[in-house]
């Protein structure tokens, strides 16, 4: 690890201001992604702002229904919350399908959204990677791409977003609340939060430098039956090859977001009109324009079959 100085933030606005003041500063929450990357010198912040002391660890009801989830709510506590289990089952399920008990005890809502890709070439500092070192090239293209994106990728990067939680939040259309260094706040719909790689795969979200996440909000419950089905190489403690987050209503309509296929949670609202007709037409519409590699073409079939099993369970 590169040396860094360390401070504990006393308020969200102060944290954002401190980040803007200090070049190379980063927030640290659970630390489970940032420290991993710092040990490999993929991240090398000169200054760490520890935000764990901020009282952002509550899940509160919103006046118009819905929930406000503090940025520091741990993944374990969010998954275990009775309201989330009852009304937002897809979110509980996605969280419980991710990482391990120890990691979920530390991982935070904001940190989970901001975790970086698991592309093996991103992790291998001996290899070129446009995300790690802009302009150096993409080692995955032409390499081993079993885990990589099948849609929305670019000539610069074909990585996927690894979060399970974010896929459920996309199905629920969550909103990310932030504060900037000047104290201004804003609300970013999750659909606009994560970015496709384009020419700049190192810019992963719409956050500005130093912008601090304070909470994620959920709209009033959608009802229906909620599913998160994750397919992976081992039964637990592994990232998704493909995952399907779904909220299905009795009449066969619903919402579907996919994990493991793109640089961001993948949801195509217009394609959801096909859901009552079954998994085949629905997935063809959701993954319309997919450009898989030889290594990961299986993900397209896998996504359709995973959706088929979800739809069968929703009907059953």
């Amino acid at each position: 690890m590169k040396p860094f100085t360390y401070e504990r933030a006393r308020s969200p606005a102060e944290a954002a201001a401190a980040a803007a003041r200090q070049p190379g500063a980063k927030f640290i929450a659970g630390g489970t992604n940032l420290l991993d990357l710092m040990k490999l010198q993929i991240e090398a912040p000169a200054h760490l702002i520890d935000v764990n002391g901020l009282a952002l660890d509550k899940i509160e009801p919103m006046p118009e229904g819905g929930l406000r989830i503090g940025a520091l709510v741990r993944n374990t506590d969010l998954a275990a919350d009775q309201r989330v289990r009852r009304d937002y089952g897809v979110l509980s399920r996605a969280l419980l399908a991710g990482a391990s008990g120890q990691l979920r005890n530390k991982a935070t809502t904001a940190g989970n959204l901001l975790q970086r890709t698991r592309c093996p070439y991103f992790y291998d500092t001996a290899q070129p990677c446009n995300k790690r070192q802009p302009g150096s090239g993409c080692s995955a293209i032409g390499g081993v791409t079993r885990q990589h994106a099948v849609i929305g990728s670019s000539e610069a990067c074909i990585a996927t977003h690894p979060s399970d939680m974010a896929i459920a939040m996309r199905a629920l259309d969550a909103v990310v609340e932030t504060v900037k260094a000047d104290g201004a706040t804003r609300r970013i719909p999750i659909a606009e939060f994560h970015r496709l790689p384009g020419e700049t795969p190192h810019i992963e979200t719409s956050l500005e430098a130093g912008e601090f996440i304070t909470a994620v909000t959920l709209s009033p419950p959608l009802g229906g039956r909620q599913f998160y089905r994750k397919v992976r190489d081992r039964a637990s403690y592994a990232f998704a090859l493909v995952s399907v987050a779904a909220v299905m209503q009795r009449d066969g309509t619903g919402r579907v977001a996919l994990g493991g296929v793109a640089h961001k949670p993948w949801r195509v609202e217009a394609a959801e009109a096909e859901l009552p007709r079954g998994a085949k037409p629905a997935m063809a519409a959701i993954l319309d324009g997919a450009r898989p590699t030889d290594d990961n073409a299986f993900k397209v079939t896998l996504a359709e079959r995973t959706l088929a099993s979800v739809l069968a369970e929703a009907r059953g």
Partner: protein, 169 residues
């Protein structure tokens, strides 16, 4: 360098550390509590599992300076020869290890895991999210998936945990 004060196994320990020191390195290298093991140092194996304020975490993926005032319990604090914690005794009885490298992490994780079940935390193996979790072997395996055993002592580990879980607290 940074000052930090931890409550380790009931004792206040004041340390002056490089800010880069993980909790695991603070325990092993600075407090000579070498029961907690370094397997991968990247959150992928569970050998470094300790309890902080009663919750299990990987001590390799957190900085010591982030734990000012926190209560840390390591395998040494759970029990000692002659005065073993019931989980330590059950691992011995059921042969829940071969080389023993993963064992301190397995034991710390399993003690905290049973508390999570008591507190009503669900898991990926929980069929009904609105009902309390059942203490099945499937639940134990899923909840212990964050601890890898290279020797493959898994079935005996599940036996040891099942025995402790079945006892009235």
């Amino acid at each position: 360098m940074s000052k930090v004060s931890l409550r380790v196994n009931g004792e206040v320990r004041n340390l002056e550390l490089d800010t880069r020191t993980t909790l695991l390195d603070a325990l092993r290298e600075h407090l000579q509590l070498t029961g907690s093991k370094k397997g991968c140092d990247h959150g992928q194996c569970g050998a470094c599992t300790v309890m902080v304020e009663g919750r299990r975490i990987y001590s390799c993926l957190t900085l010591a300076v982030m734990h000012e005032g926190d209560a840390v319990t390591t395998i040494e604090g759970l029990g000692q020869p002659g005065n073993l914690h019931p989980m330590q005794a059950a691992f011995v009885k059921h042969d829940g290890y071969q080389c023993g490298y993963c064992t301190p992490g397995q034991i710390c994780a399993s003690v905290a895991m049973l508390e999570e079940i008591k507190a009503g935390v669900p898991s990926h193996a929980t069929a009904d999210l609105t009902a309390p979790s059942q203490l099945t072997a499937e639940e134990i395996r899923e909840r212990m998936s964050g601890n890898i055993c290279r020797c493959g002592a898994y079935s005996n580990i599940v036996d040891a945990i099942t025995e402790v879980a079945g006892r009235p607290a």
